[in-house]
């Protein structure tokens, strides 16, 4: 091929690429799904993405938006600020997103929101970024999340443990925004309410042994270890090594440790004294509806952040319907569909919601992961329950508040 011909073809290809890039028309809405497909939370991302898609697919199957279809595309935020900003820029400028779900990690969200989505006026809802820093973000009303800030969960877990008679515990946390945030909130509340924390230690993941760390943690004489970590990371290693060596009698984790794979791996018999806290829907009915749909779609409904991801995507869809495709009205619409007053809408009730909205009625989405009443900062208080291991799954023991 002659050089000139080749460069002509190249130019055509480039031009074709840009013109082929679809434009946002009023007949559709585009939702960018950002998640840590690669990077440290890659293990959780597939269930999260699948749950987001489930919500949007349900809406589309039930007729989609009144003005068109919900289109979506997934983006990898790599759980890393550089990659997330890159992904968000593509989501805004190439994919022409109307709204976004994600990014998955707090550091990634802070960078991408600050430098791209907020300046570009894009609404985003994260289902897994838990840092309290997001609460104080100057977000022009554009950043929301369906997962409670670590502050909430740490505090309710502290109160629940004290009420169950745990007065003296050791705390270990993975040194990232998730683990550290939970551990700090837990410590403050637990000590303020009269509990004793004998040891309080952070750790990095991917070390071959945590036995010396565990020996240090056991030193204060506590028989309970509170472990803020992930079940598909050092949380598994630490729990395994702790149980094998009998360092503690009781183990407590937060939502990052609620993973059925953990039971499969360590054996239910070894986890009789293992408790986890996790967000739950108010009545349970909302969660059951989501769980049923998720199982049908081959998603483990208890996978970490699956329920919050579903809710985030479903809320985005509801807000897009309520705002009638007007991007500037999205924040307002989101608050309207998520919070009381209004006719309750449960996961999957797209048709009902659409009809109510068309009739000019208020709706109030009750999510699989909780009631999702956004506060002024766009955070949700969340409702939590304490779970124990029963058979090969987690069983709710009590609500926490």
């Amino acid at each position: 091929m002659k050089p000139r011909k080749r460069s002509l073809l190249l130019a055509l290809a480039v031009a074709g690429f840009f013109t082929a890039t679809p434009y946002a028309r009023a007949q559709e809405a585009r939702v960018a799904l950002l998640s840590g497909i690669t990077g440290p939370i890659a293990g959780m991302a597939p269930a999260m993405i699948a749950s987001m898609k489930l919500a949007l697919d349900q809406a589309n199957a039930a007729g989609g938006l009144s003005y068109g279809k919900l289109l979506y595309q997934e983006f990898d935020d790599g759980c890393n600020p550089q990659i997330a900003t890159d992904a968000m820029t593509k989501a805004v400028n190439v994919f022409k997103a109307t709204a976004a779900v994600g990014p998955g990690c707090s550091g990634a969200l802070l960078a991408a929101a600050n430098s791209v989505s907020i300046p570009a006026g894009l609404l985003l809802i994260s289902s897994s970024a838990t840092s309290p820093k997001i609460t104080t973000l100057d977000d022009k009303n554009l950043v929301y999340r369906t997962v409670p800030s670590d502050d909430y969960q740490g505090k309710v877990l502290a109160r629940a443990l004290l009420a169950r008679g745990f007065k003296k515990v050791a705390v270990a946390y993975i040194n990232n925004d998730y683990g550290k945030g939970l551990a700090d909130a837990f410590k403050a509340e637990f000590e303020a309410k009269g509990g004793t924390i004998t040891q309080f230690r952070g750790h990095e993941d991917k070390k071959p042994s945590y036995r010396a760390d565990l020996a240090e943690l056991a030193k204060g004489g506590a028989d309970t270890l509170v472990l803020f970590d992930y079940a598909n990371s050092s949380g598994l290693t630490i729990l395994k090594q702790a149980i094998e060596n009998n360092f503690f009698k009781n183990y407590v984790g937060a939502d990052g440790m609620r993973d059925e794979n953990l039971i499969k791996t360590l054996g239910a018999d070894n986890l009789k004294t293992f408790l986890v806290s996790a967000p739950v829907g108010e009545a349970g009915e909302a969660y059951n509806r989501f769980a049923e749909a998720a199982r049908k779609a081959g998603i483990d409904p208890n996978a970490t952040f699956a329920a919050t991801s579903y809710d985030a995507a479903f809320l985005v869809a509801l807000a897009l319907e309520a705002a009638k495709g007007d991007k500037s009205k999205l924040p307002q619409a989101l608050r309207a569909v998520a919070t009381a007053p209004g006719e309750p809408i449960l996961p999957g009730e797209w048709d009902k919601a659409k009809k109510l909205l068309a009739a000019g009625k208020e709706i109030d989405y009750k999510g699989a992961s909780g009631d999702l009443e956004f506060d002024a900062a766009g955070d949700v208080p969340g409702s939590f329950a304490l779970f124990g291991v029963a058979g090969n799954t987690f069983k709710e023991l009590q609500k926490m508040n």
Binding site: R201, H203, K206, S209, A212, D213, N245, L266
Partner: protein, 289 residues
């Protein structure tokens, strides 16, 4: 008290140390004989560990029974890597080989991700409580880790000191040019070095996996500790790599006594920098490159 110390600090330290040591031997041999820092060594270890997993999934045999197969396969892989990516850079500045090994590390990691996914996996599920031997808490897999590592090392040392090939390897480590003039087949020795380094890397990956879990980044995260162990022991010194690995493993575990656990990793780097400053030839008077 003293038993607690042995059980919870010394024994886990020894096991991590044995894993680091197995990786460090390969690094130290490559350093000495081929004269570059092999950045793909950690990922080679990961590959070895996952090859065992593939075998376990396919045959339902015990992972131990599949270990020899993984050692062999990883050794072949290492020779192949040399053939495809490193060999043609021999006469170039060594930095290019180092960069090539970084590229290889990325490629292996990508393959592991694509085939086996990102979730941590285990060879065998369940919890194995340790048995007590006069107060010492040990699990069969831990005893096996230490014994297998020890026998691999003894075999290697015997090989290096008492066979013609082993002596040729040492000669090449001392002075490659001289070795060539003396009629040593440099290509054959290079292949042999890669085979040994690859097999030992696979062993390191296997023991890391059987004592914790499999993860696509498991080897990469241990790589710096392995480098530190190799330099600590003295480059080119197999016995040095072992002692270096064990010291490093134990110091990492002991570090939690005085430092916050987040800094556990930093201890390896601190030791590394100190040894480079104070005694760059390492404990066993290795070469200085």
């Amino acid at each position: 008290m003293i038993l607690d110390f042995i059980n919870h600090y010394l024994i886990p330290g020894l096991i991590s140390g044995a894993i680091y040591a197995l990786g460090a031997i390969g690094i130290t041999l490559i350093f000495a004989i081929l004269r570059f820092a092999h950045f793909a060594h950690g990922d080679l270890a990961t590959l070895g560990a996952y090859l065992v997993l593939a075998g376990v999934t396919a045959t339902a045999l015990s992972p131990w029974a599949l270990l020899p197969f993984a050692l062999f396969a990883t050794a072949l892989t290492a020779i192949l890597l040399d053939h495809l990516f490193y060999r043609h850079l021999e006469s170039r500045p060594k930095i290019l080989t180092v960069m090539a090994s970084l590229g290889v590390a990325l490629m292996i990691r990508a393959i592991v991700h694509i085939i086996w996914g990102v979730d941590p996996q285990l060879y065998q599920t369940g919890v194995i409580p340790p048995s007590t031997y006069g107060g010492l808490l040990l699990r069969p897999r831990e005893i096996a880790t230490l014994l297998t590592a020890l026998s691999l090392v003894v075999l290697l040392l015997l090989f290096l000191h008492h066979t013609r090939w082993g002596k040729a390897m040492r000669a090449m480590a001392d002075n490659a040019e001289l070795a060539r003039i003396c009629g040593i087949d440099i290509r054959a020795i290079t292949r042999l070095t890669w085979a040994i380094a690859g097999a030992l890397a696979a062993a390191a990956g296997f023991f890391l996996a059987i004592n914790t879990e499999l993860h696509p980044l498991m080897g990469w995260s241990a790589l710096l500790a392995m480098f530190a162990a190799a330099i600590l022991g003295g480059v080119g010194r197999v016995e040095g790599a072992i002692v270096g690995g064990l010291i490093l493993g134990i110091i990492e575990e002991l570090s939690v006594l005085i430092l916050p656990s987040q800094y556990k990793m930093a201890t390896a780097f601190l030791i590394l920098i100190l040894i480079l400053l104070l005694r760059p030839q390492g404990i066993f008077r290795g070469k200085i490159l």
